[in-house]
């Protein structure tokens, strides 16, 4: 899996073809990033005094570290929920007829086809005190007082999981689709039951898809500003909102810049763990 087709090695193409994109990145990504870094190296808001004060502040402040920790944890939870819910969908997709496949793809893609704001407000309607879930449970007599669902970690995880689900499911569908269906049959004919076949054959061979899906979902979940803020409300603070507050409300640009850099490094660390796992799993598949 993942190996380039034998026709032509991608590395043999001239690098010139990548120039337009490289230029774009240089101007609109690398340059601002450098500026951000430069800004973060100032101890005062005016940007006159050089120093590592902002970083020291962040790394010694329990509140800031708490925000970073809960953001990374949020990403992990959303990724786990997406993986657990997305894998069966992807697995099912490979085993149904073409008509059901179309329907599954449509359902999977649906979150991408609606605006983030609309989707998020829909979750507010569903999770609110007078929302659909609470109203139904009360009507059924399961609960007397409404459950607090909105403005909780649970609410944010569920809403984010729904939004990011396609990022997990699509790579999984691709990875599972590349597994030769005869392998299933071979395993079965050798006496293995469904669980052994799943854990020894299907799961290892789908690892590249699992890792791609986790990387995408994770990166998208921890940076999802709108959903985090609207479903999380005032009580829950995650890195993107923290950053926004420091920059826009408090006008503390150097500290906001330092937050950005630290957040970026934290995300890069997590993503590189994923890609290392991915490279290790490259040995699998593609025979």
């Amino acid at each position: 899996m993942g190996a380039a087709p034998a026709s032509r090695d991608v590395t043999s193409y001239g690098m010139g073809l990548a120039a337009p994109l490289a230029l774009f990145f240089l101007v609109f990504f690398v340059a601002p990033l450098l500026q951000l870094f430069w800004l973060s190296l100032h101890n005062d808001t005016a940007g006159l005094q050089w120093g590592l004060g902002q970083y020291l502040h962040f790394l010694t402040d329990p509140f800031s570290l708490g925000v970073l920790g809960s953001t990374l944890l949020l990403g992990a939870e959303v990724t786990a929920v997406c993986l657990v819910l997305g894998f069966p969908i992807a697995w099912l997709y490979q085993r149904v007829g073409p008509r059901l496949q179309t329907i599954i793809i449509l359902i999977v893609l649906l979150p991408l086809l609606t605006s983030v704001v609309v989707r998020t407000f829909a979750w507010i309607v569903i999770l609110g005190r007078q929302g659909i879930i609470n109203a139904t449970l009360q009507w059924l007599g399961v609960i007397d007082t409404p459950l607090k669902l909105l403005y909780t970690q649970f609410g944010v995880v569920i809403a984010l999981a729904q939004v990011q689900m396609p990022l997990m499911t699509l790579p999984l569908i691709t990875a599972l689709g590349r597994i030769d269906p005869n392998l299933d049959d071979a395993s079965c004919s050798l006496g293995a039951g469904s669980w052994r076949t799943f854990f020894r054959i299907v799961l290892p061979l789908s690892l590249p898809g699992v890792i791609a899906g986790c990387t995408l979902t994770y990166a998208a979940a921890i940076t999802a500003f709108i959903t985090q803020s609207l479903v999380g409300g005032g009580q829950m603070l995650f890195m993107p909102m923290y950053l926004y507050q420091q920059a826009s409300t408090l006008q503390n640009w150097p500290f906001a810049a330092a937050i950005s850099i630290i957040f970026l490094l934290a995300v890069l660390a997590v993503v590189s763990v994923f890609t290392t796992l991915g490279r290790m799993s490259r040995g699998y598949g593609g025979a």
Binding site: A186, S187, L190, G191, A192, G193, G285
Partner: protein
């Protein structure tokens, strides 16, 4: 393989399968296979061979009929409980497992301990003559080697039946012959009842104790290679297995063992009524293989004109155009100096023996 189980018998009892799409893939197939036999399932692409194989393995539940292995009706058993070994056309080795892990896979599923597994895998790899490949990954092996591994993997579980789906189709010609010999050797050593699916008639005739010929989901004939080749029961078998000349004609007189037929090509010959009794005056198709026709010097047989002669090593094949304008192939053994037959020479042809001309009632 001293500890190998002697092969169990396999009965396919009136099996019919219709896919949910409506396609009738196999229809009322009956096969009675003795333990230790090697059987070829022969037929053109799309005739239902794979479907039948998958029914026996338990991957498809047949619409009607029963599968009996040994004394057990196995219809209710899932594939992992049937002890049926399969070698897939594309080998289907597990790409992420080493060769020895592949071979030991079925043993692990049976809860056999690691040491025994390793030893058994090594023994099987020696059996298929790949003792040094244990640590490699499947993609590091050639096609023929992968096939041997697939075979070792299937044999590791000591199956009561071994199924091979077009096992040699992807191999080039020399390798194919090597593997055919190899499989036959392993089958003889292990005594496992073996079913080989193939669309290659030479492969079927050379490897199998008995050949089942399928066409459009129906069993046309089930018999020894010489039965199928020399005494075909249907026109399909006669034309699909080996090459043959089809000559139309009319029955002059017929009893159960012989029929006198007037060929449209212009001669009366004696033929064997192959597809049941023939009625006088009915139209028939007479099949005579190229090697069963001979040139005759007298006025017997039918007349023709030599078109082209192809020297094919041990034999020479002549294209002859008969009086009714149809073409007939004659194959002549090259013994000593064959009579020079020029293009356009007038000749007369007759079957070597009446039993070598098969008359089938003409369809249509």
């Amino acid at each position: 393989m001293a500890d190998a189980p002697s092969g169990r018998s396999l009965v396919v009892d009136a099996v019919t399968h219709r896919y949910p799409s409506g396609a009738l893939a196999v229809e009322n197939i009956n096969l009675d296979i003795k333990g230790g036999e090697i059987i070829a399932l022969l037929g053109p692409s799309g005739c239902g061979k794979t479907t039948l194989l998958r029914i026996i393995a338990g991957f498809i539940a047949q619409t009607q009929g029963r599968i009996i292995i040994g004394d057990d009706i196995v219809d209710a058993l899932p594939p992992n409980k049937r002890a049926v070994g399969i070698v897939f056309q594309n080998y289907a080795l597990f790409p992420h497992l080493s060769i020895s892990e592949n071979v030991a896979y079925g043993l692990a599923a049976r809860g056999i301990d690691n040491v025994t597994r390793q030893r058994e895998a090594q023994r099987l790899l020696e059996l298929v003559q790949l003792p040094t490949m244990a640590e490699r990954l499947p993609r590091q092996l050639s096609g023929g080697q992968q096939q041997r591994v697939a075979l070792a993997r299937a044999l590791a579980i000591k199956p009561s039946i071994l199924l091979l789906d077009e096992p040699f189709a992807a191999l080039d010609k020399n390798l194919r012959l090597d593997m055919q010999i190899e499989v036959k050797r392993l089958q003889r050593v292990s005594g496992i009842t073996t079913l080989i699916v193939t669309h290659d008639q030479e492969e079927a005739l050379s490897m199998a104790d008995r050949v089942a010929v399928l066409s459009h989901g129906k069993l046309e004939q089930f018999g020894s290679p010489s039965d199928v080749y020399d005494r075909p029961q249907t026109l399909f078998v006669n034309t699909f297995v080996g090459s043959t000349n089809r000559m139309p004609g009319v029955v002059v007189s017929a009893d159960r063992t012989a029929a006198k037929v007037r060929l449209d090509a212009g001669a009366e010959i004696i033929a064997r009524p192959a597809g049941g009794t023939l009625s006088e005056g009915g139209r028939v198709t007479v099949c005579i293989r190229p090697e069963h026709l001979q040139f005759v010097g007298d006025e017997t047989g039918f007349a023709g004109v030599i078109g082209m002669s192809l020297p094919l090593g041990a034999t020479v094949v002549h294209e002859v155009t008969t009086a009714d304008g149809s073409g007939v192939k004659v194959s002549q053994a090259r013994i000593g100096e064959t009579r020079a037959l020029e293009n356009g020479a007038a000749v007369r042809l007759a079957p070597l023996a009446p039993s070598l001309a098969n008359a089938f009632p003409a369809t249509l």
